[in-house]
Symmetry: C2
Subunit: 428 residues, 2 copies
Amino acid sequence: MRIGIIGVGTVGGGVVEIIEKKRDEFHAKFGVLLEIAGVAAKTEEELAPFKAKGYKCFLDVAELLEDESISVICELAGGYDLPFKWILKAIENGKHIVTANKALLAKHGHEIFPLAGKKGCHILFEAAVGGGIPIIRSLQESFVGNNIESLSCIINGTCNYILTRMAVERLSFEEILKDAQKLGFAEADPSFDIDGIDSAHKTAILASLCSRNFVDFEKIHVSGIRDIAAQDIQFIHELGGEVRLLGLYNKVGDKVDARVHPCIVPTEHLLASVKYVLNAVYLQCDNLGPTLQTGAGAGRLPTASAVVADLVSLARSVESGHLEPLPMSWFRRENSAELVPIGETSARYYFRFVTKDNYGVLAKITGILGENEISIESILQKDTNNREKVDVVVTTEKALESSVQAALAKIDSLPEMSEKSRMLRFLE
Amino acid sequence: MRIGIIGVGTVGGGVVEIIEKKRDEFHAKFGVLLEIAGVAAKTEEELAPFKAKGYKCFLDVAELLEDESISVICELAGGYDLPFKWILKAIENGKHIVTANKALLAKHGHEIFPLAGKKGCHILFEAAVGGGIPIIRSLQESFVGNNIESLSCIINGTCNYILTRMAVERLSFEEILKDAQKLGFAEADPSFDIDGIDSAHKTAILASLCSRNFVDFEKIHVSGIRDIAAQDIQFIHELGGEVRLLGLYNKVGDKVDARVHPCIVPTEHLLASVKYVLNAVYLQCDNLGPTLQTGAGAGRLPTASAVVADLVSLARSVESGHLEPLPMSWFRRENSAELVPIGETSARYYFRFVTKDNYGVLAKITGILGENEISIESILQKDTNNREKVDVVVTTEKALESSVQAALAKIDSLPEMSEKSRMLRFLE
C-alpha cells in the first residue's frame, strides 16, 4: 500500500520511524506492505532528513494528491483550512484517509464523511482522540453489541497535568501553568487546551460516534480550567473528590447532552486515578456496564503508533482483502443531534462563597438557594483569621443548572460578598 | 450470515437476546444480516424456549455442523473435549468460529489455530479473555505499532471480588468465600477460580498473543489466593499496597516470563483501583507507554456483547466483504515459547514470619536471609499480647526467587517458628 504523508512534524516523523522499524514485521505478520510513497511538508528544512533517506519529497501537497500510485493519504499537518481542502481533493481522487486531526474532523467531518461515503473511501482516525487509546475502534467495532448510555473522558493531557499538580503541590493554576510551559507540557499560548477547545473537538467526535448523530462542537457548552483555585481543589479533596476537566456525553431521550467542563470526581472513581498527562475514556454501556480505557493521549510515538495501526488495518482492508468502509455518512449536518441546553441539565453542585462576614450573609445565601429550589447537602465554614474573606463551602443535592445560575447571580450581587462565587459540578 | 450456536446457557442465551434486539440496527448500520440458523444444547429443556421462538433446535451438535447453509459456529458450551471435537469438525467443514471458551483455546488452541489457517477460517475469541474488555482486538489490531514489553492483568472476577472484600471488611478468605458463594460470585466448587487455573488459561492466551509464541498454560507457574491471610492484606495495606491475583507476562530476551500469582500492587497504581468483579489488563508498550483497559470480565450480557461484536466483525469480513483471517498459525506447539523458570525470576518480597519469641529469632532470620543474598528493606515487628505468636513483617529489595525459596525453607525449619512463613511478591 503506497502511502502519502502530509506533515512530518512530531507525529508524522514518528509514523515514518515506526514504519521503517516494523515494515518487515508487518509483511511477515499480516501479509501487508506499507510503502511510504512520498512525504510533504511546508519547508525544505523539514523535508531534508527525509530526502536524505531517499523518500520522494513534496513542497506542494497538490502534487502528492495527484500521484495515482498512492492509495492512502496520511494527514498529520494539523490546522483546519488547508487540510480540509487536501482531504476533499484526496477523496475526490479516490484515496483513503488516515488522520490524527481532531480539529479538522470536529469542524469539517460533516462534509468529509459523506463525501468519503459516496466515493467508497475509508477514513480512519484512531489517533484523533485519546492518542494511543483505541477508543475509536472500540466504539466503532468492539462495543457494537451495546448502546452507549454515557461517556466521561479526560482527553486533554495539559489540563489533567495542571490539575494533578495543583492538587499534589497545592499551588495556583498560574504557577503550575508557568512551570508546565517550561517543561513542555503546555504550549506558549495554552488557551486552546486550558479553555477546553481541544477537549470540545474530541468530545464532539466521541459524542457523534456514541449517538450516531452529528454533534457540532461549536454548540456544546465548554468551560476550561483557568478559574479553578488551588483552594477549591483542596476543599474538594477534603470532601473526597478530585477535580478533572471532563468531556461528557449523555443520551437524554432523543436529545444529546454533550459538554466540556471541570467536574468533581469521587476519589474512589476510576477517573480520579487518571493522573498527570494520562487520558482516559469511561463508558457506561447497557450490556457491558462500566468500562474504562486509559493511556497516553498525546506525544510522538503513542499517537504515531495509533496512526500506524490504522494503516495496517487499512492495508488489510483494501490491499490484501476487500472490506467496505464503515458507513459514516450519517455524520452530516442534516443528521444533527439536538443538544440539551446547559440550563436544562442538572447535577449536584459545589459552591464556594467568599463573604465579608458571616453573620447575616449565611441566611441570605441559604435563602436565595432555597428560593431557587436548590437543596443544600452540606455547609462548611472554613477557619480563617481574615474576617473580610470567609470561605463558605456549600454542596447541594441535585439541582437545575438554570436555577443555579439565577441563584449565583443574585448571591454575587450581595454587598457582603468579597469575591465572585465559585461553582463546580459533581460527576453524576 | 447464518450462525449456528452451540450452548444456550448464560452467554449463549445473551447472544440470542442481543441479536434479536439489534438485528435490524446491524443491518442498517453495517449492511450485515445476522441470522441464527440453529441452536444446539444438551437437553430438550434448555432448547424449549428457543424452539418456542421458532429457532431450529439440535440435540445432536453433529447435525448442526453438517448444515451447509451455516457459515459460522458460535461455540459457547464450555469444557474441553466435546468443544474441541466440534470445532475441528466445523473448521474441516469450512466454517468460521466465534468462541468464548478460554479453557479450550488454552488447551487446544495450538491444534485449532493452525488447522483454521490451512482452511482459511476466521477464529474470533474476544469474549474468551476479559469478557467485554476488547483486549484481544487491541492486541491483534490496535497495538500492532508497538512491541508489548509487559502485561499485568486481573482476569478473574471471583478472586478480585474476594480480595477486595477481604481488604474492605477485614475478614478471612474462608468467610468471604462462603458469602461470595451465597451471592453467586463464586462457584460451589470454586477451585478453578481461586487456585488460579482460570487466570492461567487467560494469561497463557494473552502471553501467546503478546509474544507470538505458543505459551502452554500447563507450564506457567500458578498459585492462587487460598493461602492469603486477612492479616497480610491489612499489613500490606499499611505498607501502601493492595493484594491482587495477577496474570503476568514479561519478555525477557528470547524467553517468556508468564505467571499467575498474588501480587502486591502499590495503592497509587491503576490496578489497585480495580475492585470487586472488575477485570483489567495493564500493558507496557514501547511506543504507547502504559495503558489500561478495565470493565466487566464475565456475566451474561458483557460476555455476550463481546461475542456479538465478533459476529458483526466476521459478517463484515466474510459476507459483505472479504478479509483474510488474521494469521494465527504461529500458535502451534513447534513455536512454543521458552519459559523463564519461576526460580530464575526476581522481585521485591513481603514476608510474614510468625515467631514464638523474638529475642534470638530475629538474628537467625536476618542471618538466613543474608546468607541467601536477600537484602532487607524493612522489618516491622507487630504489636501483640501473645508472645507465642509474634508477627515479624519483612520487605526485601529485589531478590532471586530460588534464593527466597531456599531461605524460607530454612527459616520454616527453625524451632522458634509458630507457623509456616507467608510470602508475597511486589509488582515490579
